[in-house]
Symmetry: D2
Subunit: 508 residues, 4 copies
Amino acid sequence: MTKNPMSADTKKIVSGEDYINSLRNRDLNIYLFGEQIKEVVDHPMIRPSINAVAETYDLAIREPELASVISPFTGKRISRFLHVVMSAHDMVLQNKMQRKLGQNTGTCFQRCVGMDAFNSLYSVTFEMDEANNTTYHSRLKSFLKTMHEFNFVVGGAMTDVKGDRSLAPHQQEDPDMFVHIAKRTKEGVYISGAKAHQTGCINSHYMLVMPTMRLGEADKDYAIVGAVPVEAKGITYIYGRQSCDTRSMEGGSIDTGNNTYGGQEAMVIFDNVFIPNEWIFMDGDYEFASMLVERFTTYHRRSYVCKSGVGDVLIGAAANIAEMNGVEKASHIKDKLVQMTHLNETIYATGIAASYQGHSTKSGCYLCDDMLANVCKHHVTKMPYEIGRLAQDLGGGLVATMPSEKDLNHPEIGVLVKKYLKGKAEFTTVERVRMLRLIENMTLGRNAVGYLTESMHGAGSPQAQRIQIGRAMQLEYKKRLAKVLAGIQDADDAVEELSGYFKRVFAL
Amino acid sequence: MTKNPMSADTKKIVSGEDYINSLRNRDLNIYLFGEQIKEVVDHPMIRPSINAVAETYDLAIREPELASVISPFTGKRISRFLHVVMSAHDMVLQNKMQRKLGQNTGTCFQRCVGMDAFNSLYSVTFEMDEANNTTYHSRLKSFLKTMHEFNFVVGGAMTDVKGDRSLAPHQQEDPDMFVHIAKRTKEGVYISGAKAHQTGCINSHYMLVMPTMRLGEADKDYAIVGAVPVEAKGITYIYGRQSCDTRSMEGGSIDTGNNTYGGQEAMVIFDNVFIPNEWIFMDGDYEFASMLVERFTTYHRRSYVCKSGVGDVLIGAAANIAEMNGVEKASHIKDKLVQMTHLNETIYATGIAASYQGHSTKSGCYLCDDMLANVCKHHVTKMPYEIGRLAQDLGGGLVATMPSEKDLNHPEIGVLVKKYLKGKAEFTTVERVRMLRLIENMTLGRNAVGYLTESMHGAGSPQAQRIQIGRAMQLEYKKRLAKVLAGIQDADDAVEELSGYFKRVFAL
Amino acid sequence: MTKNPMSADTKKIVSGEDYINSLRNRDLNIYLFGEQIKEVVDHPMIRPSINAVAETYDLAIREPELASVISPFTGKRISRFLHVVMSAHDMVLQNKMQRKLGQNTGTCFQRCVGMDAFNSLYSVTFEMDEANNTTYHSRLKSFLKTMHEFNFVVGGAMTDVKGDRSLAPHQQEDPDMFVHIAKRTKEGVYISGAKAHQTGCINSHYMLVMPTMRLGEADKDYAIVGAVPVEAKGITYIYGRQSCDTRSMEGGSIDTGNNTYGGQEAMVIFDNVFIPNEWIFMDGDYEFASMLVERFTTYHRRSYVCKSGVGDVLIGAAANIAEMNGVEKASHIKDKLVQMTHLNETIYATGIAASYQGHSTKSGCYLCDDMLANVCKHHVTKMPYEIGRLAQDLGGGLVATMPSEKDLNHPEIGVLVKKYLKGKAEFTTVERVRMLRLIENMTLGRNAVGYLTESMHGAGSPQAQRIQIGRAMQLEYKKRLAKVLAGIQDADDAVEELSGYFKRVFAL
Amino acid sequence: MTKNPMSADTKKIVSGEDYINSLRNRDLNIYLFGEQIKEVVDHPMIRPSINAVAETYDLAIREPELASVISPFTGKRISRFLHVVMSAHDMVLQNKMQRKLGQNTGTCFQRCVGMDAFNSLYSVTFEMDEANNTTYHSRLKSFLKTMHEFNFVVGGAMTDVKGDRSLAPHQQEDPDMFVHIAKRTKEGVYISGAKAHQTGCINSHYMLVMPTMRLGEADKDYAIVGAVPVEAKGITYIYGRQSCDTRSMEGGSIDTGNNTYGGQEAMVIFDNVFIPNEWIFMDGDYEFASMLVERFTTYHRRSYVCKSGVGDVLIGAAANIAEMNGVEKASHIKDKLVQMTHLNETIYATGIAASYQGHSTKSGCYLCDDMLANVCKHHVTKMPYEIGRLAQDLGGGLVATMPSEKDLNHPEIGVLVKKYLKGKAEFTTVERVRMLRLIENMTLGRNAVGYLTESMHGAGSPQAQRIQIGRAMQLEYKKRLAKVLAGIQDADDAVEELSGYFKRVFAL
């Protein structure tokens, strides 16, 4: 039986502990290693991803200005992750919260997808209603109000499995390659299909299901956006495995590297999952699919500022291990830490610049700068890899050749390991090993998935950003600049209204 | 006889033409190619640098919101280059104006040094007065008021020639290796020494002379800051030569590449130059020299956002030449333009992020973020070189092998040149040649000096930024983050007040 | 009881199978996960590293010209890994064999350390004998003859654990931080200490123990080189764990990525291990320690050509997955494969250039070019990371979010996984998953240890190569070239005998 | 009247002086700055390019083994630049000579085009004759014999001006956009058209005219290869201008940076230029055009090893200026010199690897490895730019802001310049200025054209190398490697004959 996330006894979540308890006793159909998981909260491999989300609540208690807002719907304090941004400053604060959570967890804390999803929907539903006389926008506000009341976690589900990528959704041999409406009733719609590598779905309360790309008229049934509770009937989750994932199940606390926090991705399969009318925010309006996707990616590419927080941890780890190895004063070591910082701050700077340069949409909701958001994310597809490489450089070969925790703690062998892996006198071997395992975790292990691979592919692979940069780069304007200076064209002839990116560049 | 820049007939400068006229008939001691220059305004090699400054006035007429402000001292509209920034927004608007001027001139427009100099002095004099009970701050405001009245160009003079770099100023065998007080009278001081590669000095009205680095007590006589008119008695200017400089003197308009605009650097030699007491803003307060230098470089490193405007021109030139060559549709061409844009926007984004993240000083004047300003400038020491390389890639070999303008215009030979250098039908050969010459100008020629070499060394060479990044990177904070996640330290033990850079990162 | 590797029933090893059998029933003291391993050959986590060495034998059968030679000692065909190189061609053939084995195994096949060790010893012992009238060279030849007779695997043990890196061996508080002579008898010496991250030790028959760095007179007892059987009394091995190592123990064949081959590193602890006089090749000759280390690293840095073979596999995997995803025709995909190839071939080219430019030592044994070997290895510390990053780019996010093999093979859930993870029609989902797991294996998993981290640190970390390049770059010669062209010095004055690197550059 | 380069009084050239004299009194139709040049040898702007070629002769006297060979045709010693390479060793020696000449001249010495042209023709004519029963090969040998007799300089002319690049030669509106046969007589053919940016044509004795790309049957008249004397009737040369070219005409010796040596490019226009039958080496054999072009570029891309010699000079210059500035001991300075060296040696290593891995053609003439030659040249399109950037970093801002030589030598002003631009005590200001001017020369000035722009575009622009790398990378072979290791395909099924690049990789 499905537990209703909004039953009579549901209370507003305040602390991380409240949140963890809210996830208990749900009737989810989750598979991992070919077995059904009874209670996700207690599964050692899943728990770290839940802890990461719990920290978003605890941070809101410790630093309410940073990580919470007063809900315009309820007048009560809620997580900033549930906030519709109404100013550039609001967007910058998202970034600052993201960096802090990256620092505190050293991993992906999984709440940005949902946040960026309803923010994009906020303006898109407004413009859909304006164009088509629909009522999606008020439905969305009603949905958000409910989320605010309970201070729930909202996830987003976007990336279809896609099948043959050269075919449109309606052309696929198997119609389920993209999530679509399989059935309609008076009360709502039933959707089928699957979303791949969904971040933070199982530990959310609701998911916003959205199309993954531009759609044509023949794809109408694929133009569906709606909210579903995570425990909705018909959903199967297959938990994605990660590098070194089973170390969590070995019983120790060292070899995991980061024993508390981790990310989570799963394949989410929808088999005739019901969405009631009031929680449908797009239905057949295929012509708005690309607007939704573009706004979402614009927000989301800038959300990768979080990686600068994770990078702070890795820079700190590299500095620690250099000190434990006794080489922290070498000029090349110092210089590599500077280089890591230079790269890491570039991610931060380009991300917040996109937020600061944001502009209002018709709905009043702010949207960040498209060009700079893409510039930020594009750096994220490279710089964490280089920061990781430098961390391995400073870490030394032991990062990948150390004996296991069980050897370290072995009554006899452990003595030898501790004797021989001792670095500088003021640190214990266990401290040194823990620091090396953290570097392993972030460059090869479980959190390398979030810090590297997800940095590459989340919010669109590198080429997706290059396409967007190409679209926004306004070559005609730049060509005219060059023609004037080369003496080919008069400056007067070159006068023109600025548009797009350069309009924002020169906005006062 | 020295022309007094503020004589009875001096009028407020409004247009570029006013400005150019204001530079006429001055009695300057300038050498170029071993000869004294009578009238700089009419010298074909010098004029382009004057034109670039003139454009700062004309832009203020065409786009007053972008390039001018209302003076708080006079209540009249003046150049934004004379403005003391009282908000982060003010600093961002400097950046936007800088990018626009880079776009309009394709070169260094030379006014940022002075702007960044009096902005740093504004807060430093305030804090000096507070500490030492001096009156520098009101003197500076009085100076600025005068500058605002006439809407003058203020240059800055900072970089001493330095002699043996392993010795402090007072240790040098020749005391003139750093500018210093050579004599004192009741009315003021007399300074001697020389400043190397001073940008935009000859075409300024006043120069702010400042020390170049941290000073000790024994360097007291070197701790002198003051304003001098450009035509002050005792100053000798030796004009620096640039790559391809003499093409301006060949009489044509094509081979120069950018026939209108160029930069200017000169060596400025002070031989007992008088500064009256009211225009002295530091005298012996050696302990404030490093604060002044650091604030100046913080502003100035972020001012290199101008290069993104110059980069826009070069990207435009590359796009034009690709089209003229008929290859604009090739995927690798498009991709290289995207790459150039990605790099160019990174300069812009990191620069404005430094401005947006600025904070108030005690004086009320805003100061941009130190870390991000250094991150910006550090990219500027590399990215323009790569953008230039890609422009040469798209330009093709002709960039460096074309016949001269005189051959192109030759009655017989010119016919052959035009026939054989024809590209795509819709462009004339002259247009193609002009575009190639612009690329040459910006990657090898006169404006390569500003776009490349000055990008490297202006506001401090790469290592200077790395040192500042190293100072600001707050490793101890990051090390604690890693220790907590590695399980070495409790999160509770790690609680601490944020300071420095991270305080600003998490400022709300 | 120690099994004597050369007992009466010992036979010459020919095939991989012979080799694997030769490793059975040895009495080794090996720990892994806190437990003693009875039979390494059958341990699923260890076996892949044994298979990789076995392939060196099987290749010698399939391609004898590439992977074997005729022993000058026995006149019989033996592995090329046992060959003393007597020409530049011999060194190039090592590189070609290394690339092929990288291609065939996709991992580190672990035999280069030993090969490079006895090659360096060959010339160093020759020169030691010449200098000190010792007999090390003939002892070494005798040792090699024995190895040739049985066609054994010889490993090398060099990297001491080092303790406090700011102290010399004899200054360490704990004398065991570097392997040293603990006791002497008439028959030989007893050594104690430990070597960290030793590649391919447990699956060797003999190990050559060598000092790790330049030694001084006070370090005499650390100047010990000798051969010990792997099963010598007193040795304890602690197996190093690797990213995703336990997947080998899960029972499947998919999630391991590369189910057959892997690398191996262990900590080797010597507790009074005996070396008989006839197998001692340096004893107290501290002044030759640096020569030995330098020659070894020169050979070994160039041996990293193997990574170009591993890179071939990863490029192939990236090309396969692009095809399976249906995007192999996109221009950016093709371009990334070209970029991976460009980088990969740079490793190969710089490595073989070092071999081709080798020169004879006094012993007749050839030594490769020091500068170019360092240039090669220095690229290896970066390029595989970039190739790996690009492979992840082409692989897509699934590389790190796929369900486990057990889910894939699950009777019910497996059907869904297979349905939804289907790519292009002509490939099965299992094939696609296998290819993605191979990419994971090489970029995050078990063989990422060899392809990335070992590429960084094996044969010396990046700074070690920069130091060697700095030593060999002959700035004085280059400074003279510039002085002549700048007109500061006459060409005649500049005439000088070439030495070092440039002597080899201009060798005819 | 045309001077016959082989008139009765023609003597074999031995020394540089002989060579310079051989260029006097020729009746060439050369334009520069709209004027006809009477005597190229004495023109200050042209002379440096002649000096660079003269050094190829003088080197052959000083180091005959390196820079000369015994002609197989005449039995006499001739320049190595005239040698047909009959072994891999021969090709490596070309590279070594190229590096040495780069070191001695700091510029492009212009003889590689011709050398690479007749080497490609040697094998292509052999195979043409074999296919078509023609006699081109013996004609070519006869031509070479004549060249050997007089030890002449042979240039190559390949790059057509191309017009609209989307059209084939025969489709161009103006047939002259590609050099073609305009007329035929019994004695030979007459060609018309133009070749752009021809290196070292005016200072050659003969030019080999070749097609620039793959041709189709309709382009038959464009499939013409032949030798013409430089002073042939009907040729017009228009000298290309270079950055800072006119400094040579200012009368000094400092501001030129490298006062002795420079490169040369010109546009060569053919107006019915006669080629006698005996010196025609292809006529209408369009199907061999691409083979010729590919072999030429394979040789020529590897010939860019010369840039490592030029790089040696720039590294030396950077090291000198660091010392003159007194900062040579700073760790970041040393590290940048190491980085420059690492890049520079990569060019060298990849180039010689291509030569060492060469293979014989049917004609007996050796051809270098295609893949590695392209890898080498592709690095050359980037690394010199980075080396140049680092040289500017070490040089400091003065590289681009120094007063002119005339100011430096001025009786009054010069004293000030010398006083204020003094660096470390043991160097004079003039020495420091000379070194800075050399860096300017190589990074912005005249020799930047050769070191940078020509490195980019000579022998094909970057994309041309990527296309060749893409063709040679043998993805199918690599895909099979990955399939075997991923468990998709049996190793046995994967057995196949190696071909192309990998055949050479594994050649023994």
